[in-house]
Symmetry: C3
Subunit: 393 residues, 3 copies
């Protein structure tokens, strides 16, 4: 085997069995890489391979080198929420599997993986092209809605970073699955994130993050996707479940297209704090009543909630089905799209279905909204005359 | 190598060379895994690796453990249909390659891989996170349209299952490439399925299946995708060829978006048996005349055929080009979208092109269909007055 | 290790260290494969694995066998453009990493990998299912806009080919990252192509190419995607940056959907030479002013430029923000969509935003264009009366 490929179970330099503390072993491997790769022109990084098995992570891993690939053989998801509500005496397996890491830090830290480099990025260089692939990060025990829950985080990136990849991973029973601060062009694709407080949080600022082809399954107190000060986010082809909640703050030119979203709660996509020029197109929104309860939003908040200008909502399908007794405020006509504020938002070619009458609502402070073939005459409630309406006949 | 990683060509426990009967070897590996992983908390599964090579599968593999990854190094597709119609004396390669399994069961079974666990799922637990990756399942010999053909099946999942992954696989010359019964959140992505009777069949019932980024190439007697009793299917980013045929029965809230579909036959997407609230958006539909013949549908059936309510067909392109002599019934104006029945279907922002005049047709039993900028005045044929029409000028 | 899996760093047959000339080693491996796989029924190919490390490629690799997988462990991207404009004395890493190949041919050739087989495809068979995965091809030194630049090419496929896969690769500082001639059903997905002259060029002719989920970052003298005589291209879910430029010549039935496009220049999508029946839907187009200068197109050329018929542009968002002093010709109202020629193009449900007044323009030679809810009355400039307009109110 090449000397840039490490197997956590067979690497002779480990001071402990990886099954006892994989975090310590990975840190030792990173230290070993540093002793072998010693100049700025000879640091290609390495692969850390995690074969199928159950591993405890007692020590947080700190990644401060670029080009590191941490890779397993399978996300190994098993629904711990279903397990914890079932009689499992005769179950064949009762915990996640494949390359399965139990996040059980005994070091006082909350993260399984912290990616962070000391020094100003312009001085020491940004962290680039770190890869997490195909293993499972499991918080072991938690309770709905998982935030604050066990307060654990799967992967936290806290230095400016470029071209990271998180692919094929599984996350379960964590408060935060993935947190990335200062992201440039990350690719987060083909992951299975479930039963977490929040799935993906792009904090600080980010540019051109690409989030595609994932399952994102979070409960009602966190976010499927949270982004602040984001430019050019691309969120496409994802299946987002349970409490689908994409929240963008001061974020612009995002493209949210071709996703399948299901939620037991309002605020499936919220464009806040002046988020502008975003596109929401060709998505399927489904709102039902079911597991969980929350007073975070009521049914006047909107499945899509807009506070910002020049956003386009085109060619989507919205389906609302909640028993009248569970609609809040009692007796309200649920809002599908709320333009809370902002100028020149564009709604075109959307179809709304409800078990009760549903509404597109333009608040008084909104201006110049176009509602074109996106609501029947009976479905539009406008608290401003400053809008244009072509009703769906 | 870790003891949870098996190479079918080098594992000493095999009773036969994997090239002679890989099925028997994989079954023996699974048996070995069971002897090593003996409690419900210590069953992470394993990887079964298939290096490039030609392998015969004489014995059906039965997978009844979770978290198993069966993985090769390449889908190895070669068009056997083209080969069988060519003079190949001087061809360099004449059969598929990479990690190539010839499905030649001598055990009386039809499947290469059967995934099934004895016992009620609630009692024994569902099968979870089984992975098939990057190898080729080849039926060896068949004839168009491949169903019934050689009656062979690539992968059949017959127990309730969660979070399965089928990725990067090749399938060729099988009657059924993939059959999954009782699927919850499977991810079927980046596969190359060609020259099969049917590509993907989600039988029984399924929820939130995700089928993305695949090549699906089937002939005229089967289906590209078949789903019954499906909730929340997501079918996006696929290229679907030859006889593109997505058939959904009693299926709801599917999202069929951003696909490229080509067919020599009608019924490219059929929403049947009351399928409702589905979204068909941003797809390109191309209908031509070419290889194959079928009387299964005539040109009045529709490229999109709807029997159900509140479906939305938005922002698609339809292109029809069939020599008049090949249109059936003779002299008919081909139907692009047929709303056969159902209430409140929504057609918005679609463009229709034909080498002959083409039609959107609303049958007499349909009600409340909206046809908005989706047909010229001359392109709509409505057998009911219960509809609304905004003609494309 | 199976005898069909080669590690370039440990294979005993190599005449040179792979770090010195990986090209020579891979050619020797291919020669070895040919000595072992000697009949047309026994050529499954092999895997050539490139562990993390820095490798020089002095000799061009020639691939003339099918089913070969060349695979590394990471695209290892590092922005060489940023590096070359920075003080890097204290940077930890100053060149790309992971499985990193420096393209430094000393053999007089321009390509790192040439895929080509001698003989007529019908006689010797097409090259099938070759795979390039997860390594980095780096041109080492170049200058914007990289074409002609260092005149280097990453992967060039020059024989008719079927079902190729290029996945997870990195390309940087090349004039041409990927050139594929005569492509049938290639899958180009999940790559990171940046700081190249052109990213993907489908020359000659192609059918049903699938280009999905990539980062494509090219400068202003080349193309993000170039296709000529292409049928049924599928370009979806990509993030395209800097000088996003998709140019299609005589290409038909392409589907360009759910992409995020950013450019400092016009001509983000150009449908030329009669390109017809293409779909451009659910994309986000962002035009800004920034790095680079070019006189290739002025602001009357259009972000989308159409010379062909029956193309559909639906449900997109266009955002234009260029300082007036940088708009050319001076004082012009920038064109967002130009229908230069062609019959029956269909624009529906698009939203246009500009820091200055922006336009949809129908040239005199265009006929029958429909502009439906895709421009305000003030945003349409028609040099022909042969069109239909439903203004966005």
């Amino acid at each position: 085997m090449a000397d840039t490929v490490y197997d956590v179970t067979t690497w002779p330099g480990a001071s402990v069995d990886a099954r006892t503390d994989i975090g310590r072993v990975v840190n030792e491997i990173i230290a070993d890489i540093k002793t072998r790769q010693t100049t700025q022109n000879t640091r290609p990084g390495a692969v850390v391979y995690i074969p199928p098995g159950h591993y405890d992570l007692k020590t947080r891993v700190v990644v401060d080198i670029g080009f590191l690939t941490v890779k397993g053989s399978g996300h190994g998801f098993l629904s711990e929420a279903i397990r914890d509500e079932s009689v499992t005496d005769s179950w064949v397996e009762t915990q996640p599997g494949a390359s399965h890491i139990r996040v059980v830090n005994t070091d006082g830290h909350k993260e399984a993986f912290l990616v962070q480099r000391t020094g100003a990025p312009a001085t020491v260089g940004r962290l680039g092209s770190v890869v997490f692939q195909d293993f499972c990060l499991d918080g072991v025990a938690s309770t709905k809605p998982y935030t604050p829950g066990n307060t654990k985080t799967g992967i936290s990136v806290q230095s400016d970073n470029d071209a990271f990849r998180i692919e094929g991973m599984g996350f379960v029973y964590l408060e935060h699955a993935i947190v990335v601060k200062g992201a440039d062009a990350p690719s987060i694709t083909n992951n299975f994130i479930a039963e977490c407080g929040s799935c993906i949080e792009l904090t600080g600022a980010s540019q051109v993050a690409k989030v595609t082809n994932n399952f994102l399954i979070s409960a009602w107190a966190g976010h499927s996707l949270f982004a602040e000060n984001a430019e050019g986010l691309h969120f496409s082809g994802n299946t987002v479940l349970w409490a689908a909640n994409l929240t963008l703050r001061n974020s612009h030119r995002a493209s949210i297209t071709s996703n399948k979203l299901l939620s037991n709660f309002p605020s499936m996509v919220a464009l806040l704090d002046g988020s502008s020029e975003n596109l929401i197109s060709a998505n399927h929104f489904r709102r039902v009543h079911g597991d969980g309860s929350s007073t975070r939003y009521d049914d006047l908040y909107g499945l899509v909630h807009i506070e910002g200008g020049n956003n386009a909502v085109t060619a989507n399908h919205f389906s609302y089905d909640v028993p009248p007794a569970n609609i809040t405020p009692a007796g309200a006509a649920p809002t599908i799209i709320l333009v809370r504020s902002g100028a020149a938002n564009f709604l075109s070619g959307n179809w709304l279905v409800g078990n009760v009458p549903v509404k597109v609502v333009l608040d008084a402070s909104s201006t110049g909204t176009r509602v074109l073939h996106s609501a029947l005459a009976s479905q539009l409630t406008a608290y401003t005359t400053d809008h244009a309406f072509v009703a769906t006949p």
